[in-house]
């Protein structure tokens, strides 16, 4: 299959002028070489196949937005190659954006004073969506996103969650091949987040729309994405499955055991006792140390066990550790 996104050695450097104060400073800045070079994206390569749902993660300032802006044609790369949906985004802007959708979580693409439905109709005109396709999509999306309650409300009076639903609908009305979602669940409550996740999954599965999303909420990734890419300091640190990420960097798992009695010595070689509260003991062990079943059988040989449970490490912790300890560099 031909990849829908092909990024090769992509770079984006910004010159930040060191004295850009006032008109004089700006004019002088044009001629003198006093600037600092910021490597926002510093040589990343990846491919995305049609129909994939990819999570793009990274701490603030890691280069996520810059990548997204290049992918959507808003920014011209400093170097490297970028082919999306058969085109070079920044070079063929109009033709390119006609077949993609984008939602930038913190701002709306809709007209502020216009009722939602009027905005959608204007977008239908702008994207030249045939009336039949428009009807079909609108009917489908308004049900999934429960838009009916506020379809006639001006965008300025919508809640954040409603606005996001309206924006998602707007971004997908023209049946884009590929959609970029920047923080689609930011600032929403649990119920609203869930509805949006369901919608993204639906569009990806039923319409085959390729989705690339950035998020700070790792439950988005856990519930939606098979594949994650992690960027930091402008470089791609990880590109693979979520479970692979957990396996490699998952840190330690925990086994919580309720013993029948309060044994004096419950230590096991190579396993840390992370906590003890009467007959309840928490063991912490790494994947490389032993498997859960090995530990359980070692314990059951020596003690009588009432109950036990295994805790997988949090994906949130995993990713935080990757950023903080720079495990991937």
């Amino acid at each position: 299959m031909t990849p829908i996104i092909r990024v090769t050695n992509l770079r984006k450097y910004f010159r930040v002028s060191l004295r850009a104060k006032g008109l004089v400073g700006t004019v002088r800045g044009l001629f003198t070489g006093d600037y600092r070079l910021v490597r926002a994206v510093d040589g990343i390569s990846f491919e995305v196949q049609p129909g994939e749902l990819v999570g793009y993660l990274g701490p603030n300032g890691a280069g996520k937005s810059t990548t997204l802006k290049m992918l959507t044609g808003l920014l011209v790369p400093t170097s490297g190659e970028l082919h999306v949906n058969g085109r070079v985004p920044w070079r063929e802007r109009k033709a390119y954006v006609a077949h993609i959708g984008a939602v930038f979580g913190n701002r709306s693409t809709l007209w502020w004073d216009l009722p939602v439905v009027d905005s959608l109709e204007l977008l239908q005109y702008i994207y030249r969506v045939p009336p039949a396709a428009f009807r079909r999509n609108l009917d489908e999306f308004r049900e999934l996103l429960e838009l009916d309650a506020f379809l006639d409300t001006p965008v300025r009076s919508l809640s954040l969650g409603q606005r996001m639903r309206a924006d998602l609908c707007a971004a997908l009305l023209h049946n884009p091949d590929l959609v970029f979602l920047d923080e689609p669940t930011i600032g929403l409550d649990v119920v609203a987040k869930e509805r949006i996740r369901q919608f993204i999954l639906h569009v990806n599965r039923e319409h085959g729309t390729t989705v690339l999303l950035t998020t700070h909420d790792l439950s988005d990734v856990e519930k939606l994405c098979e594949r994650v890419m992690i960027i930091d300091h402008g470089q791609l640190l990880y590109d693979g499955t979520l479970s692979g990420l957990r396996e490699r960097f998952g840190g330690k798992r925990e086994l919580v055991v309720d013993f029948a009695e309060d044994y004096a010595d419950v230590s096991v070689d190579g396993v840390e006792v992370a906590g003890r509260e009467g007959p309840r003991v928490v063991y912490r062990f790494g994947r490389e140390d032993m498997s859960a079943s090995q530990l359980i059988s070692a314990l059951s040989e020596r003690f009588r066990i009432e109950d036990l449970s295994v805790r997988e490490p949090d994906i949130e912790d995993t990713v935080r550790r990757i950023y903080e300890e720079r495990l991937l560099e």
Partner: protein, 269 residues
């Protein structure tokens, strides 16, 4: 082309509908802008009563200049308000341009359609009133050429001011701190063009002849239509340079704007 016109009409329609939603605010705004223009002219009229003329121009003649500039600037401010540097730089910071770039239609057309300040009608109407007053009091020798040329002068002024707005908006891609400097040209320029150019010092007049060709847009056409002699001794065709000057400024602005957009695409905000 038809599609673009229709799209423009729809985008403007959105703006109109939004503004008319707030009816009271709209009416008040219109009245305020209008009364500002009238107050300014009344002040001028009072001064003229005392001094009789400005640089050899009587009150009705100044009304002709003043009314023309006000009408043209008001119309431009309505049509080109998407490019109003103050508003534009704010919108860019809010990410407007990114939003527009994500839509498969022309960016310039969208910026033009992103704002349409209907209440400028007030300024236009008052400008027209002052202009009409001038016409009524002046013994103009109308010829067919003058009648045809009058609307051309008006359109050229609109182009000229529009060009200044676009240049101002484009500069904000590089710096938002110099908006004030840009405003000196647009707002100061309007103010200046409302009076006969002969009253200004030499260096200033030269600047507005050869660098920014403002002198050909209002002063010279007025000399011709009012049948006044040219005190500055420019060639006889000078009164007819209005469309050339207006159109060239708009053209230069459009080219600069395209350049600015490319710059924006390579640096972001």
């Amino acid at each position: 082309m038809l599609y673009r016109l229709d799209l423009y009409r729809r985008l403007i329609g959105v703006q109109m509908r939004s503004q008319l939603q707030y009816r009271t605010a709209f009416l008040l705004d219109t009245l305020t802008t209008a009364s500002q223009v009238v107050t300014a002219f009344l002040t001028l009229a009072l001064i003229l009563q005392r001094f009789d003329n400005v640089g050899g121009w009587k009150l009705p003649e100044v009304a002709f200049l003043y009314g023309m500039v006000e009408m043209a600037f008001g119309s431009m401010d309505m049509l080109f308000s998407g490019f109003d540097p103050d508003n534009f730089s704010l919108q860019v910071q809010r990410g407007l341009l990114d939003q527009l770039m994500l839509r498969p239609v022309d960016i310039t057309l969208q910026v033009l359609g992103s704002e349409f300040i209907v209440r400028r009608i007030g300024r236009i109407a008052q400008g027209a009133a002052v202009f009409a007053l001038g016409l009524a009091l002046l013994p103009i020798q109308w010829t067919p050429l003058k009648l045809v040329y009058l609307p051309v002068v008006f359109a050229s002024l609109v182009c000229f001011f529009g060009g200044l707005f676009i240049i101002g908006a484009t500069i904000t891609f590089w710096t938002v701190e110099s908006i004030e400097a840009v405003n000196i040209f647009t707002y100061g320029g309007t103010e200046m063009m409302a009076y006969p150019m002969s009253i200004y010092p030499d260096w200033m007049r030269r600047f507005f002849t050869y660098i920014v060709p403002a002198i050909f847009l209002n002063y010279y056409p007025a000399l011709y239509i009012l049948g006044k002699p040219d005190p500055l001794g420019l060639p006889a065709f000078a009164p007819f340079l209005a469309p050339v000057a207006g159109f060239s400024v708009l053209l230069v602005a459009a080219l600069f704007w395209q350049f600015g957009l490319r710059h924006y695409q390579s640096t972001g905000t």
